[in-house]
């Protein structure tokens, strides 16, 4: 379980202080898929970096399976928005996926099997020898997802992973994340600014306020587990849920909780 308790992050530069995160508390159960959505500039990325152990919070704690996070924890993998900069251009697709496994000291046979398996799972079989920059943006992000999945994390953090790909690729990648999550039973924390994406993907959606950030609201997405782009998005319940999230985000931008009845 991922527990974020009273998390606070203040950036200091000289005399100036910027309070990015004020007081964030939420939990993600093992095997859950939670989407964090908030207005732009609400410190989503700061939050994710604190959870990933890449950034030291000013106050509060992050616990992963009971252990406090003080550096990048084992069993956690991250997919960055900037796939082009996160993948190493000097390595082939295969080497990019394999390198973290080497650092994990997995034996060669296991590495080879994992690389093959995950590239196949993300629909990139046959591109092992290509370099990331020879692939389209969507394919590059698939490589980054394969790299994270091959690491066999118990928790997968995704930082607006599809913000830079076109709408059709994005729909495909959303279904890929749902499929991988259902198959691997991995805990996924997915950050996005896209309300539709959050409702479509998540089993729960946590809404953040604008900066300085607190948790504005959270809801359980009671849509059926089998989702598809066409029917789920046309479901009246989907519309209700997205309206609720939308209103909360709008209220967050105005800086107060919405008075709308809970769904």
């Amino acid at each position: 379980m991922l527990e974020v308790t009273s998390l606070k992050k203040v950036y200091r530069s000289g005399e100036r202080e910027v309070e990015a995160l004020r007081d964030l508390t939420f939990t993600v159960d093992n095997g859950d898929l939670v989407c964090l959505v908030g207005p732009s500039g609400c410190g989503k990325t700061t939050l994710l970096r604190c959870i990933a152990g890449l950034l030291e919070p000013t106050a509060g704690t992050v616990r992963l399976d009971g252990h406090p996070v003080s550096g990048p924890p084992p069993g956690l993998a991250m997919v960055f928005q900037e796939y082009g900069r996160s993948l190493f251009p000097w390595m082939s697709v295969r080497d990019n996926v394999e390198l973290p496994l080497k650092q994990k000291k997995l034996p060669r046979e296991r590495r080879t099997a994992l690389v093959e398996e995950t590239l196949d799972a993300v629909g990139l079989a046959g591109t092992e020898k290509a370099y990331p920059w020879q692939l389209s943006g969507g394919m590059q992000q698939r490589v980054a997802i394969a790299r994270a999945v091959a690491y066999e994390p118990s928790t997968l953090l995704m930082d607006e992973p599809f913000a830079a790909v076109d709408a059709q690729t994005r729909a495909d990648l959303e279904d890929l994340v749902r499929a991988l999550w259902q198959r691997l039973r991995v805990t996924v924390l997915f950050i996005t600014h896209d309300i539709d994406e959050a409702v479509y993907l998540g089993r729960r959606v946590v809404m953040l306020s604008s900066s300085p950030t607190v948790v504005q609201d959270e809801i359980t997405i009671d849509l059926p587990a089998e989702r598809d782009q066409l029917h789920t998005r046309a479901d009246p319940r989907f519309t209700e849920l997205r309206t609720h999230v939308y209103e909360q985000i709008q209220a967050a931008k105005r800086g107060r909780p919405s008075t709308e009845a809970a769904v």
């Binding site: 084992p74 900069r85 996160s86 251009p89 000097w90 390595m91 390198l99 650092q103």
Partner: protein
């Protein structure tokens, strides 16, 4: 092959650029041939190109000449190797530790502009006319070229690439090996290319001024014994060595950096 459209249907663009590149040296040869022949300059100071070429032809047959070339290249190669190794190691250590970078920045800015030739008296004092003198000058001059480039390269590490490595729990050595080093590599190559040219200049200078064995000393000897065409021939040889070194460095660079933006060109996405 990509054919040019109008002028020379038989020549590719690359061949035409190559021919244009050769036109320069050819023109220079014609000029050097013509100036003394037309009596515009005294041929005691500038013999015609044909006579220089003849002197070079004779010289190519002597063991002495090849010994001098070997000595120059030896001093160059050893000096360059030391400078590159030291520059890369020091650059990565300083670059990777922010405190060190701040602490050394002013010292580097002070030491770097000191011309290597200003160290000639010191070199003679320490090593006399041995190879050691040449090496001191070559290493000093080449080291800064490499160091400064490596420092730029280390500063160019993409924070996202580094965070990716950290998030996958890469240790400090793995981050140097897999993130910092490949990022710095294009800069290292630039540094090596610059250092290789400077090292040759300093190797010849040391031989010329100090009298360490090599092409530089041969040039001085030819000049003092009045063998002017030979002197020009040897100068031309040092120039050709410089060109050869630069070409070799570029070919090596392109092969090693096939993945880099500057080499890979546009890829249809």
């Amino acid at each position: 092959m990509w054919r040019s459209c109008s002028h020379d249907p038989g020549l590719s663009v690359k061949q035409r650029t190559g021919l244009l590149g050769l036109a320069g040296p050819a023109g220079l040869l014609v000029l050097v041939e013509a100036l003394p022949r037309l009596g515009l300059v005294n041929d005691a100071y500038l013999p015609p190109a044909s006579r220089i070429a003849a002197a070079l032809g004779d010289e190519l047959g002597t063991a002495q000449f090849w010994q001098a070339v070997g000595d120059t290249l030896l001093g160059w190669a050893i000096g360059l190797t030391i400078a590159v190794t030291a520059g890369v190691v020091v650059g990565i250590v300083i670059g990777a530790v922010p405190v060190l970078r701040e602490a050394t920045a002013s010292t580097i800015e002070f030491l770097r502009p000191i011309p290597s030739v200003a160290l000639i008296p010191l070199a003679v004092l320490l090593y006399g006319t041995d190879l050691g003198s040449t090496l001191l000058l070559v290493v000093y001059a080449a080291f800064w070229q490499v160091l400064v480039q490596v420092l730029y390269g280390v500063a160019d590490v993409d924070p996202i690439a580094d965070e990716t490595a950290r998030s996958f729990r890469f240790g400090p050595w793995a981050r140097v090996r897999h993130v910092l080093w490949p990022t710095a590599l294009p800069y290292v190559f630039t540094g090596v290319r610059l250092a290789a040219s400077v090292a040759l200049v300093l190797a010849v200078t040391a031989e010329l001024v100090i009298g360490a064995p090599g092409l530089g000393r041969s040039i001085a000897v030819a000049q003092s014994s009045g063998a002017v065409p030979l002197m020009y021939a040897l100068i031309a040889v040092t120039g050709l060595l410089g060109v050869a070194i630069n070409l070799a460095a570029r070919v090596f660079e392109r092969r090693s950096l096939a993945w880099h933006q500057s080499v890979r060109g546009e890829v249809p996405a």
